[in-house]
């Protein structure tokens, strides 16, 4: 019985993220439009896009290989699994133990790996640009992310997201400099990883500036749809990650009652909305930076992460 219930919750979460992801993106687009004194696309536009793309036939370049066709599903699967592993409204999900923060990062890494390969598959110059830049960004973003993980893990003594969240809820935490640094670093990494302004502009197709989009140029129809969905999932994932780690309030503990879980969902949606607003504000208020400034941007994130770790030792050994 309990197993069924657990399975249900797990499944619920997976469906939830899947459903919420487009909505979040739509919400952000809408907001950005508003901030720019525009009407902005309707809130549900992403769903419509998805459905339209799904119904279209997929056009493949002549020399596209099997890898090109498999990649979208792999990317989607990896991202989805990763997103499913991050506690959204409840900790202690059935399979929460089957992976930890490092695995989540690695899953996103494999998604990127295959996407980059797909970008090079057709053999167009833009695909190459996209892949190469994407990997360059990743080489800086990933270590930064690992540093953040270190900070949190050393803080909580665990890389297990549920126990992390649990620890963050506990009074033992208090206010910590390193946690703050980690938060800033995490936000920066999240921006970079999701190709948001100032790193990359998801809305642009201006050849020389695009990174993520350049890899997708050759995709169309259902493949494009799946990949887009994966990208939205990723955004959602990062937001829920920040949420569950740094503002874990409202998370339903393991074996919680349905009531708590409902409140959990509510809190979760509230967090998403909040972070969406923040992101939209941020994106409208800054300009995109040149591609080679990115290294400095992410380098800063990496430094912050490392600093967080070191400070952690200081504070730890002092107290």
């Amino acid at each position: 019985m309990a197993v069924i219930l657990d399975l249900a919750t797990q499944g619920a979460q997976m469906l939830l993220v899947l459903l919420l992801a487009p909505l979040l993106t739509g919400f952000i687009r809408k907001l950005k439009g508003r901030f720019l004194r525009r009407q902005g696309p309707p809130l549900l536009q992403p769903y419509r896009d998805l459905l339209r793309l799904m119904r279209k036939e997929a056009v493949l370049a002549e020399n596209a290989s099997w890898l090109f066709r498999v990649t979208p599903y792999l990317v989607f699967a990896a991202t989805w699994v990763a997103a499913a592993l991050v506690p959204t409204f409840a900790t202690g999900l059935m399979f929460s133990w089957s992976a930890d923060l490092i695995v989540v990062i690695a899953l996103l890494g494999s998604a990127r790996f295959f996407l980059a390969l797909a970008g090079m598959d057709v053999g167009t110059s833009f695909g190459g640009i996209g892949s190469s830049r994407e990997m360059m960004i990743a080489t800086l973003a990933e270590p930064a992310m690992i540093m953040i993980v270190f900070t949190l893990a050393l803080l909580a003594g665990s890389t297990q997201l549920s126990s992390l969240a649990g620890f963050m809820l506990s009074p033992a935490v208090g206010l910590r400099v390193s946690a703050g640094l980690a938060l800033i670093a995490l936000v920066m990494v999240a921006i970079a990883e999701n190709g948001r302004i100032p790193i990359d502009n998801p809305a642009t197709h201006l050849e020389l500036t695009m990174v993520h989009e350049a890899m997708l140029l050759e995709y169309s129809g259902r493949h494009l749809a799946v990949i887009e969905l994966a990208a939205w999932l990723k955004l959602l994932l990062y937001m829920s990650l920040i949420g569950c780690v740094f503002v874990p309030w409202g998370l339903a503990p393991s074996g919680a009652s349905t009531g708590e879980e409902v409140t959990g969902v509510a809190a979760y949606i509230a967090k998403l909305a909040a972070s969406g607003v923040l992101l939209a504000l941020f994106e409208t208020s800054v300009a995109k930076m040149r591609i080679f400034r990115i290294s400095e941007f992410l380098g800063a994130a990496l430094m912050l992460g490392l600093l967080g770790v070191l400070l952690l030792f200081v504070t730890r050994t002092l107290q």
């Binding site: 799904m54 119904r55 036939e57 997929a58 056009v59 370049a61 020399n63 099997w66 890898l67 599903y73 989607f76 699967a77 990896a78 699994v81 399979f95 133990w97 089957s98 992976a99 930890d100 490092i102 690695a106 890494g109 494999s110 790996f113 980059a116 390969l117 970008g119 090079m120 598959d121 053999g123 110059s125 833009f126 190459g128 640009i129 892949s131 190469s132 990997m135 360059m136 990743a138 080489t139 800086l140 973003a141 270590p143 690992i146 540093m147 003594g157 665990s158 297990q160 126990s163 050849e207 140029l217 129809g221 749809a225 799946v226 080679f292 290294s295 990496l302 770790v309 070191l310 050994t317």
Partner: protein, 670 residues
């Protein structure tokens, strides 16, 4: 008795080597000899595995060979058994590959005799249980591999490669020799048992550590002792490159383990982990950065070997740090991670070199910028290669990730260490490793993307055809092993438990019993990873998505010319090349690491001539270390050489000066 069985295998291999010297040129000899080598390697592997799994007693035997009053001691304990397994699995793979690949060899007599000898040498290093036999086997291994590097001695650069290799190798051997000299003591107790019994002063122990780090490190390819590796490994025939990169470096690591973790165990000090960690971290990052800058496939792979060696050494340093600071449990975790990575690297690096070899036979090209699009003519090869790329880039659920994950888990235990230095050093090393991992991903996206994807960049690439079944078989088998080790890491860890137990005195909790076959380094609340479930989830969700879409949405496909943002370009030269792919990363790291500077030479407007772009990279290890040494030697040689051209009178005056000098000594000596 495992040791005897293993020795028989070695004897068999040597026999094959001798036989090969005579029948090497016969028709069908190649296949026969490689098959024999394959059989023996498999036998060796099974014996070792049996010893490892069923925890047989430490087997020991002394033959009346080698140093007369010491004899040749051979021993198989858990550690040896593990490395025997690694060596022989690599050897078996290479032999299997060789059955097919060997046919393309022009001068089989330059390869066939030395290949089994090389295998035998590596086995012997692991089996040896006294200093003399160890060094003999060690140097024999170097020698055999040198001969294999010289197999294609007419190709430009190979002579230099072989020379640098053999000199570095013997420098390393001399370092180990000195180390053993200190360990054995003036009475010359060269047997490992005697050495274990013989306690030495802290200073000397430190010295031994340094020498071992130099000796084993130079063979394994620690920066800055790595310079020979990217020259020699690519020069050899590909299956030999696979052995050298995948297996021989591991034998070097075995040597280091044996000396520092076993023979020196009782003399270890708390700070010993520090230099190893530093070397490991630095090596990892520098190695992979170099790899990203290379255009020769095999060279890239060689440099990536250096990176992985760095990772392994970092793991060893971690283990030593934990051990020497009285935390064997953590040490066990770190050591497990390191050993796991040893196994993994042996597996996927072999596949990668096999793949490179396959490409070489199919196209005759090693330069990435003349390849491309090989995924179409060579589906099997490219698939195996892809798996290996994903594994070496530490992507879940493959084996590379499992070991890296364990390593990170070990690093996360650093706060438990008493010493400040270590506390602060470990996270830094962790950052380096993370950086290395990310760069590795970039590096292998580059390799696979440029070589196998896109459009052919040359005629040879267009004409490529898939390689023979044997080679495919070898690659696929190893790929399967990669996947298995990735999704069922628990069993591997348990298999390594006795090794770790024997070395650190502690072991990781038994994994096989944990539900759902996930692995738990310390405690589940802390961290756990389940490759199987992740694999299952990914497979499930991918196929569900695919099914749903094809079922309910469109499954239609239309082939069309590439869109390429509206202006497609037919010339494959417009694709991203290896160089251009690496350019952003070169921009970021190059200036510090390679003193890279780029020079663009644009024609004036209206001039139809092509623009030139060139990049200069420097390997600082060469410029700061080796060139000065070489210059010094050559200077000394030139100066001293003038003594060759003197007159007899001057030579006589030397004699008389010597005489007068000695007489003076006598006169003044009390």
């Amino acid at each position: 008795m495992t040791v005897i069985a293993e020795l028989w295998c070695v004897g068999g291999l040597l026999g094959i080597a001798v036989l090969a010297a005579f029948i090497g040129n016969e028709r069908g000899a190649t296949a026969a000899l490689y098959s024999a080598a394959l059989a023996l390697s498999l036998a060796g592997f099974l014996f070792a595995l049996h010893h490892l799994l069923f925890g047989a007693a430490v087997a020991d035997i002394t033959l009346p060979l080698g140093l007369p009053w010491v004899g040749a001691h051979f021993q198989v304990d858990a550690l040896a058994a593990f490395f025997l397994a690694v060596v022989n699995v690599g050897g078996a793979g290479a032999s299997l590959y060789g059955i097919g690949y060997g046919r393309h060899e022009h001068e089989p007599l330059r390869v066939l005799p030395f290949f089994p000898a090389f295998l035998a040498g590596m086995n012997l290093v692991v089996l040896a249980a006294d200093a003399f036999s160890f060094l003999v086997a060690w140097e024999f291994m170097s020698l055999a591999s040198w001969a294999l590097v010289m197999a294609h001695h007419k190709e430009p650069g190979n002579l230099e490669a072989g020379y640098v290799y053999i000199v570095m190798a013997s420098a390393g051997t001399l370092a180990l020799l000195l180390a053993f000299g200190l360990l054995a003591g003036p009475e010359g107790g060269y047997a490992f048992d005697a050495i274990r019994a013989h306690k030495i002063s802290p200073l000397r122990a430190g010295l031994v550590l340094g020498l071992a780090l130099f000796g084993a490190g130079s063979k394994a390819g620690l920066v800055p002792l790595h310079v020979w590796l990217p020259l020699a490994h690519p020069a050899a025939p590909s299956h030999v490159s696979a052995l050298m990169s995948g297996v021989m470096t591991k034998v070097a690591i075995y040597g280091f383990l044996r000396i520092v973790f076993d023979l020196l165990a009782q003399d270890a000090e708390w700070w010993w982990g520090v230099p190893i960690l530093a070397a490991g971290g630095g090596t990892a990052v520098l190695g992979i950065l170099h790899a990203l800058m290379q255009n020769d496939v095999k060279r890239v792979l060689a440099y990536s070997t250096i990176e992985n060696i760095g990772v392994i050494f970092a793991g060893l340093g971690l283990a030593l740090a934990f051990d020497t600071n009285g935390w064997p449990a953590a040490g066990a975790l770190a050591l497990t991670a390191a050993l796991f990575h040893v196994l993994n690297h042996a597996l996927f690096k072999s596949i990668l070199f096999f793949g490179a070899g396959a490409v070489l036979t199919a196209t005759g090209e090693r330069n990435m910028d003349r390849l491309g699009g090989l995924i179409h003519p060579m589906p099997i090869t490219s698939f195996a290669f892809l798996v290996a790329c994903a594994a070496i880039s530490a992507l879940p659920p493959l084996n590379g990730f499992a070991s890296e994950w364990l390593l990170f888990q070990a690093i996360l235990l650093s706060p438990g260490l008493p010493h400040w230095g270590l506390k602060l050093l470990l996270p830094a090393v962790g950052a380096l490793l993370a950086l290395a991992a990310a760069l590795a991903a970039a590096c292998f996206v580059r390799v696979f993307g440029i070589v196998f994807l896109g459009r052919p960049r040359s005629v040879v690439a267009e004409r490529a055809v898939e390689v023979d079944r044997w080679s495919q078989g070898a690659m696929i088998t190893l790929a399967v092993l990669c996947v298995l080790a990735g999704i069922l890491p628990g069993f591997v860890i348990d298999a390594m438990a006795p090794v770790v137990q024997s070395v650190t005195g502690a072991r990781m909790p038994a994994q096989a019993s944990i539900e759902w076959l996930s692995i738990v380094p310390v405690a589940e609340s802390r961290s756990s990873y389940n490759g199987l479930v992740v694999f299952f989830f990914i497979a499930a969700s991918a196929s569900i998505a695919a099914y749903v879409i094809h079922r309910f949405a469109s499954g239609a496909i239309r082939r069309a010319p590439a869109w390429d943002c509206g202006f497609p370009e037919q010339n494959p030269a417009t694709q991203y090349t290896a160089g251009s792919f690496a350019q952003p990363i070169r921009q970021v790291f190059g200036t510090y690491v390679f003193r890279a500077h780029e020079r663009v030479e644009m024609r004036p407007p209206g001039d139809p001539g092509p623009a030139r772009f060139e990049v200069k990279l420097h390997d600082l290890a060469w410029e700061l270390m080796y060139t000065p040494i070489a210059n010094a030697v050559s200077l000394a040689a030139t100066r001293l050489n003038q003594l060759q051209f003197l007159t007899i009178r001057v030579y006589l005056s030397f004699v008389s000066f010597a005489l007068v000098f000695l007489l003076l000594v006598l006169a003044l000596w009390q």
